[in-house]
Symmetry: D2
Subunit: 355 residues, 4 copies
């Protein structure tokens, strides 16, 4: 059984998410220079029942060539809404205020391999130094046989190398293959906004929350969806990445990253105990030469202008999660576990939108 | 002109906020031992135009006698969503994980006087020591003549001394007199929830956000309310206080406090640049003797049970803010500035609820 | 009995603190524009035994006219080593990365009055707005009758208005009157360093630690000083202020502030449970117009250059604390409590320095 | 050339570090149940010059069987003095307040492999779940050919499996093979203290600071050691691990972890820009059943008792670093780079101790 084909994005179904215009692909790749690579791992046992179930993968967000990223890191900030998860490199990001590698998303048990793969990639690019990659994770163990550890270092390298600009696949793809959100199949979601001063893109690996609390387009739909909701305290998580070409500094980017959580709240998330809701934000316009000495001059946005960017991030986050839920159709995984796709037509009807 | 009389609370208008039952008053005072005191300062110039406009006041949340609070502080935690504001005592609360005084809410320029009043109260209670009070603030300078500084130390003492249990006045009362939220008159709001293990109460001083983003009952109503919305980047803030009789420790209470922000997000807040969104959470069931030595035994909730409390906090926060908006009617303040009450009937109609 | 006259500073006694040169006064006022004001409150009962003992005061660090500070705040950062204390305004400093008022130091119970005095000063300077002052405290209740509350708002205003550049009084002066450090009388200490890129000044209100752990000039002297040491877990605290005219941003200044704690460690501090060791750092060269919109261009030091500034801060902090201990002579306070001055001659002998 | 044999520990040379007694091995293994495993990787090119130089390794701190650690994690806290480094799992440690795996120390580029090895170990122990290991790193690239990546997953497993109690090898061993501190060869150091309530053990991977600032036994020796000091802003780091059988909760353990930095300061560290000074603290006496529901009763030390533990941590940290410097002799590494051993005899003479 192959992965389910993607369904329509939320906006194509008539939903709106605020008044700020989107970028041309309504994706993180609308920020110039940003590329995304997915490698999907999708396996079933053979006819004799041998072999593991794979519903996992890797997604890479590549902001520049790995050697250039290392030599001229970008200003970055990190925020944690609920820290039951991992984003490696977060300590350095907070201290130095920079991102120096691609950002790689995988399932929890594969963080080490993704980390190792990025180290390899940096060394092979000609850097003779040590590096601390940024790898985020969510737990896909309901659908994926995480003990089988299907992901290899080579898969991560492939995601890095095939990263491309333009439209971005969402839902059941890359690291999103085994992810579940608000009780329904989800995975990768993205959106973008064009503010006066540049473009803001978000990409999320969505794996959080319980069905009873779900809100779509603002409407509280969870209770109407019935009793199939899994309990709130299962595993879960959401890694959120914001990229912008507005020139912001590290302190501002931490503030921007913090807003992703407010977007999750619009879907009904209460950031339950087991959720690793961890976010980072990066400015492609504020780069810091690793070997810089003396002083440097940097142009940054006035803080008073940040509210528009905050609104863009919250709106785009709400849309990205809704995209992940709308695009991802039902997946059957490990031990026959079924993650139902969101009943989109039903919800559109409730919202007064023609299915 | 006296303050406008309170209007109906949100639940009395037919709105629902999640499935968890409320306490008997649906107020922070449903947590045993919690008392609230309001002193409202409401003055207009005399017929000759002399005298300042006062649209301010003080609200005190009293959890025990001041001497008892000091001798046996309660476990507490603090969280900052956007820190453009002040909650004194937050550094000690984070380090020692306790609350040792009442919590007092005032307008920004009056923090020092509230602080001083609590010191007086503690010393007069027989404590011969130094004390760090917890005072939170929002900026009511659109409606109140903040230069006139109408609030005195005596007003704060009065709020402490008149604090009572039972039903709590909301909206245009106490520290809420001059506050504005999501473009409309607001102020004090409260709500409570009964979870399996105890009661969770919240009280908020609501003064945040812009009208264009307003959501009520989940529905996005801001754009339909027209162009009267003030810009997002005006002053603002929300101080949120959570109190529970569930026995939680300081680490857990910090996590609980953090959830208040998710409740604000349900109203549409993006925590704009100028907002001081600062929250604390206190457990009346986990007290620490100031003079304790050796070891102590404490019963705490398992972390895995926290998700229900998180849900209670987010639901109650959403309801408390909605209460502040529903109860508070239009106020005319300093320089004729008008803070319109939320057009509740219109919104109820949009929500399909009979006005 | 008047306050004891100041004794010699540590450097005048032959001690050295690293290899970086000092500024001309070896004081925080070596940073251009920085002024310091002390008001000392020193009272004893009359011959009939009536009246309280005052061993307290206020110290103001003024970086510009109050209206100019408010209109064009300076970049700032804050760090907490042990948070059993208070520095008001720290939440805003962390979020906005700025300082917008003078910094005032008082004893714990007087924070509210100092806060109120700064609000008055800002309003009287013509600012029609709300303001969040920065007030730090240590606990002088061993020597001062803190229940008598000798400090008034007017005393704080006087410290602000009499602040001057040039040499700075240390030891038993201003807010330092009642402070005790490492078991000996201490109080105010200051020092400065000239690095390649500018001047770094520190001022500390020293009130921390126990005698058994004391190190002077690196040498472990505590155990040789005998058994008079008070227990470690008494009250205590150290507020540390770093000011520089090197252009640093808020993230860098937080890192700078964090280094003050390493200077305290050189004196033997373990940041005991009851200590409020709270530090801030400010750059007079990086100012942010409150009304700024659009973008601004800022020149900041490359991070790789920070290590020299870190060294300057740690060295200057060690020297400032040592100054506080060397300059402050024995004080007898409330209830006859004696805070012995450090036996400087004995220590100089141990260090091989001629007394 | 094999690794240099260990030299004498600091205490064996006559140095003292405070008045609190040590445990029987004066090592982290004095805390019951704690085991340490080292695997040293030491290779030179063959006679034809082929092959890489390896001066690296892995050190594992094992607190219980991996499956038991996962099922019943220990209370833990984390603190960052300067975050230019990595300790994976720190986000979860901060949120949940627990440690659920062994702690593994490696060089920077090998973090991913160590992470992967621990995941393997946990899965093989019978856990069918996802896991977030705790792996810390320092940069040994001055001595080790980090591009050759000599460490494999198998080496990490070997360190986990051979971990033993009793005396612990220090200096040039395990992860310490290529580490340099305060300008001299260092590596692994450990020490312990017995306080009234239990045992406190520390282990550090020491790789920080510059020679000019070095203090030993309190005495400032850096400037007397001459000009061979490397510049301060080279790479560096210190991962510090505190383990105790005193029952502390997560908030207290974060406070304990923060004190490690004060111990580094006693050696002269200013936590330079490039240093990853990251610390964690764990209580073996406060375990949290992963599947716990309802409430649990925990016995914790009164906060007022913490000062003794803080003193123990700072003293033991100072001793552990001094041990790392005293024990490690000169190492020649990659490209002929020489990391000189500390001239111990010279320093003992300066300290008035017989060599």
């Amino acid at each position: 059984v192959p992965p389910p084909p993607p369904r329509r994005r939320a906006r194509a179904c008539g939903l709106e998410f605020g008044s700020i215009p989107t970028g041309s692909h309504n994706a993180i790749t609308d920020v110039p220079g940003v590329r995304v690579g997915h490698v999907t791992l999708w396996k079933d046992p053979d006819s004799d029942g041998n072999g593991a179930v794979a519903r996992t993968g890797v997604t890479a967000i590549v902001l520049d060539d790995v050697s250039e990223m290392f030599r001229r890191p970008m200003a970055a900030g990190v925020a944690v809404l609920n820290g039951a998860g991992e984003l490696t490199g977060s300590i350095e990001m907070r201290e130095w205020g920079i991102l120096e590698t691609p950002i790689v998303l995988v399932s929890t048990n594969n963080v080490g391999r993704a980390y190792d793969a990025v180290v390899d990639a940096v060394l092979e690019s000609g850097i003779d130094d040590v590096v601390i990659p940024v790898v985020g994770e969510c737990d896909d163990s309901s659908l994926d046989d995480v003990r089988a550890r299907s992901l290899s270092v080579a898969h991560v390298r492939e995601a890095l190398e095939t990263a491309a600009d333009g439209a971005v696949a969402e839902g059941v793809v890359g690291a999103g293959c085994g992810m579940i959100t608000m009780g329904h199949k989800a995975g990768i979601g993205t959106a973008s906004r064009v503010v006066g001063t540049g473009t803001v893109g978000v990409m999320l690996l969505c794996n959080f929350g319980g069905a009873r609390l779900l809100r779509v387009g603002g409407m509280v739909v969870g209770p109407r969806l019935g009793d199939s909701a899994p309990p709130l305290d299962t595993g879960g998580s959401c890694i959120g990445v914001v990229v912008t070409d507005v020139s912001l500094d590290a302190r501002q980017l931490e503030r921007v990253a913090r807003r992703v959580g407010l977007g999750l709240a619009r879907l009904g998330s209460v950031a339950h105990h087991g959720s690793g809701d961890i976010f980072c934000a990066v400015s492609t316009a504020n780069r810091v030469d690793r070997d810089a000495r003396g002083t440097r001059t940097v142009t940054v946005l006035a803080d008073a202008e940040l509210s528009d960017i905050f609104t863009a991030v919250v709106d785009a986050t709400e849309e990205a999660v809704t995209n992940a839920l709308f695009v991802a159709d039902t997946v059957i995984g490990r031990d026959g576990f079924v993650a139902e796709g969101l009943p989109v037509d039903q919800i559109l009807e409730w919202l007064g939108l023609a299915p």
